[in-house]
Amino acid sequence: MPESRTEEAAAAAEPESFLPLNPRDVLILMALAGGPLHGYGLIKEAESLSDGRVRIDPANLYRVLKKLVRDGLVAEAETASRVSDVASGDGSAPKRRDYQITELGSAVLAAETERLARLAEVARARDLYSPSDL
């Protein structure tokens, strides 16, 4: 599967064609589903969504966001970020860019969630896992 798509291509794309998503991408999309975020806010949100298990590296985040933007799942936001009260180290106002999830992104996220839910269902039906194991 080609990794990069132009936005025109993406607009025509079916959400299912993006599946399965990288777990890290799922986290990012989930984080953005609550509203626009900038880089640091996104890292923290992904961390809290994963109970602290996933810490996205800032450079990697940038790389992934570029890819998601290219694929049309995420866009740079026009509105202000949800989190804006983080003090920066040197006191000057940091240069931030906010990101938001696109309609396609939401659809892909929904499709991926459904796919995962179905998988979990199958696993549970076959006694492969019970929530208390975790």
Binding site: P2, E3, S4, R5, T6, A9, H38, G39, Y40, I43, D57, P58, A59, N60, L61, Y62, R63, K66, R70, V86, A87, S88, G89, D90, P94, K95, R96, R97
Partner: protein, 920 residues
Amino acid sequence: MRAALSSGGGAAAMRRREAATTRVYRLTLRALPGELAAGAEEIATSYDELAAEARRSAGRQGEWSLLSRSLVGLLVCVTKERFERRRTERETARGLAVGAGDRHHRSKRGPVDMLLEDVRHSLRSLRRQPRFALGVVLLVALGVGAVTAVFSAVDGVLLRALPYPQADRLVFFGSPAHSGPKLEDWSTRLTAVDRLGAAWVETVALTGVGAPQRVREGSVSEGFFDLFGARPALGRLLVEGDFAPGSRVVVLAHSLWQSQFGAERDIVGRAITVDGVPLDVVGVLERGFLEPEALTGDRVDLWVALDRSQPVLTERNVHVLQVAGRLAEGTSLEAAQEELDALSSMLAEEFPGPETDREGNPREVPLQSLHEATVDQAGSALTLLLGAVGAMLLISCANVASLALARVSDRGRELSLRSALGASRARVGSLLLIESLLLAIAGGILGLGFAWIALDLFRRFAPAGIPRLDEVAVDFRVIVFAFALSLLTGLLFGVAPALRSARADVALALREQSTGPTRSRQRLRGALVVVQVALALALSVGSALLFHSFLRLRAVELGFEPERVVRLHLQHGQFGDDQERIDRRLQLADALLEEVAALPGVEGAAFGWSLPFDHVGGSRCCWRTRFVDSAVPVEEAESRGEDSMVNPVTPDFFRVLGVPVLEGRALVAADRDSEPPAVVLNRELADRLFPQGAAVGSLVRMGREQSLQVVGVVADFKAWGLDQESGAAAFLPYERFGGRLPTLSLAVRSSLPLAQLAESLRRTVWQLDPDLPIDSIVELEQRISSSIATPRFYSALLLVFAAMAMALAAAGIYGSLLFAVGQRVREMGVRMALGAARGNVVRLIVGQGLMLVAIGLGLGLLASLAGGRVLEARLFEVAPNDPLAMAVASGVLIAVSLLACWVPARRAAATNPVETLRAD
């Protein structure tokens, strides 16, 4: 995480540091190729906020670990990005992708791209000469690995702050121990020290859980846990009420809780039996708490409150407490020492006698930083090792440099061609530098692996007595150190060839046959050989000195026969004067001796309060008092008496240990009731008390009044270590004087195998008293051998280093001469064509090599004369300029060098003059 940071550091310093990590990250980002550099500003903004958060939650350490993580993250990103871009490009080329990403990165060739190209080129060129690359990597790994291993030990043991709050202000009250009243004086009258913590560690019996056990119990003062920042893992630590007389509570060490109580959480509230007394467990110490070894000496298993009302702690002349304190804010160690000295003088006036020494001077207490008191002599040992591995690293570097030099000469034509084709000298030089840095980094990584293994071995085989060894690990600091070291190494040996190539004469080198090595190049290579030989000799002399000293130590005359004697240490309760306890102990001892002596295979058994090598080292345990000839009036006893160790023993003591009785007789069973009590002196004490002889039959006074009759004199024997004097010793009937003693050692002479004997000894003891803990049962010879474990360890280690250094130096000589021979093939051909015999050629080459070796030996001998003094404190009956050690070390080195010279010389002599000249 261990607090390795000093707590000071103002806000300004914080800001500077904060800027440092962020700046490093930003600079790295900007230097990167491709898309990431374009997004640098945005990435850095997120990074800033993460860094601010890390700083808030984990301080400077958190900040640096974020930096290291993020730099790795960057590296991963760059790799992934390149990989993806290539794939996209391939797909574009095949016409598969609809639209390839932007391509501005290809048009822009940043410094990083140039660097990458140089790296690729260097890798290709190294791949063509795998033996050279492998050799260099191994050499660097060896040097860096050894230094890194020792550095991590030095770092963990010496450099790192102790893991206690405000560790830099903790001080230790030196010289041997202190009395209870003195602690009281200090805590009420010293202002320079605002908190005090005292500890008294004893061995006690823990019964009721499995087999009875000897464990170490620390009685600590109120401020102790607070001073060292201890926290409970379970329950609580000691609180004020616990220090009331009669309180019976105990805090368990984490390790004891796990090993003896299965880490059961309901331990708090339960009672355990210590020395027959039930104590309530109120808490368990946290896992990471490290005892302050200067105070406790070793691990402590149980912690109880110091009961200051007990007799031992109310007497001014009973010294059992080890004390540490924290300097008041803004007070220097010197100021505190001054105040303490003044207080000591005042106390000396108030309490002449207990607070003065024999001349009436105040007993002064030296203050020392706790860190210094903890690492003590381990420092000198580790510094010694660091010196040794440092020398090894230098030898490796010199070796690598001469390898690299030879390689440049080999590649002279290729490099000159590059220059001729337009490459600047700087670029050719940087190519070589990159090559050596690449090798150095590879060597560094491998070296780190070596260090990890070496450190593991070191921890496993290191003798007891190196404090804080548990804290030692290959961690972030050590890794940074190893990399810095290997980069430095890379520069060190990369510089020589780089400089050389920058000077290379293009025209000269391009000619088909260059005219052979230039003078300066030869001289540089020669100097490298000299350096290697000198360093190898210095190391070898050092190891020969230590080894010689170790052999001397082993050859020491013991004065007794330890073969087939097994020792067992028994613990039967704390000091106690009541008659009932005394009677019980004596009965037990009697019964035990009888039963053990009757065991099949046992030739003899005897008790003593202590046996030879029970306590090893300069400090003397356990009973030391003054003896004087009874004919001397009491008032002169002070000046004419002799201090001596006192050891209550049973009649067979000397026979079992094989100590010859020189005059009179040994103690006998009848001595338990004889009046005055009998005493046996050793040769030294007898000679000192009765210089005219005739000790046997005389009366002596022990202490102030106890009168004793000398019944015999025995030979001196080593009891405190092979390197210690035997000293004066007196032996009293155990039955008369041993009942008050809390411990005793049993010596058993037997031809039975140790395991079998140990089994029946244990059974016998536990039949008589199932609650008696038994220390390990060991052979006396084993104890003697482990008493010299430290010198054995260091001499073996240095021997290994010296052997490696010698091998490296030999490899250096060999390589260097081989290369010189290769360069002079034509000359040899001409010489032989003109009638030189093969022998002459061999002599020429060997002579050339030996010349360098001789200079190196001279320098090395000078270095070891200067450096020998470092070893002086570790040498036993061997002078630091011991001619034997120097001769042996030089001899071996000369022999090895000769071999290293001879092989290339043979090769030179094998030159076929006709073929060589024909090729011209």
